[in-house]
Symmetry: C2
Subunit: 142 residues, 2 copies
Amino acid sequence: MKVIAISGYHNSGKTTLIEKVVKELRKRGLRVGYIKHDPKGHGITDREGSDTDRLRGLADKRCLISPAETTIWESTPADLRKFIEERFGDCDVVLMEGFKNIEGIPKVAVGDVTVKDLVLRVRGDEDFAIVVELIERMEENL
Amino acid sequence: MKVIAISGYHNSGKTTLIEKVVKELRKRGLRVGYIKHDPKGHGITDREGSDTDRLRGLADKRCLISPAETTIWESTPADLRKFIEERFGDCDVVLMEGFKNIEGIPKVAVGDVTVKDLVLRVRGDEDFAIVVELIERMEENL
């Protein structure tokens, strides 16, 4: 599996870049995972008052099984690499969004941002083809 | 692991019953999972236009890592028992809500509903202690 993070400041165009990269990787027949970092906890992933929301804080783990998709809520893992191996092991490529300060994961920086383990700096989504090329050429790292 | 479904018609009080049962099981030191069936796909588990929502239909699997909780979206499993084993294997008890027609999972019926593999019929959440007792006494079934 190849794991790479796309990091940059807020509104730098990370998600748009990732959308284009994912589309291209999928076209090439690869199975792609996406992991978004929400360090401030602003993400809302359930409808207030829904049954699964009512069990938040009560059950240790929750799940909603819908026809098109299944959603699982669980404790945030202490060991992110182990989590990726276990949960995304069936993916060829995992794109992480954010995670500027994580160590040991190669990074694509979008715009003028300081990141650890930098392998490529791009301007924005106009450079998506270069990112796809980088991913194609990189070795499996997890 | 003990797996049991709480089934009943809409508004029969399944979730309130489950809330009380989960609280009591947790008090007893058990690790509890909750799986809600959404056969009509009415569940909404992301905020429209959020980054993870933008990747819906593009990435094969998505995840949001927040400080308090991690949310994973993936394809709905073809084999539910295997899914429960793999994803809820760290739970002592798994309470399923709905799943009236699933075979091979013992059921608690709430109110006047026909279910397969019935083991207990209750009126509603006022009977939560009986459900807890049943779960305590049942054998591991997965």
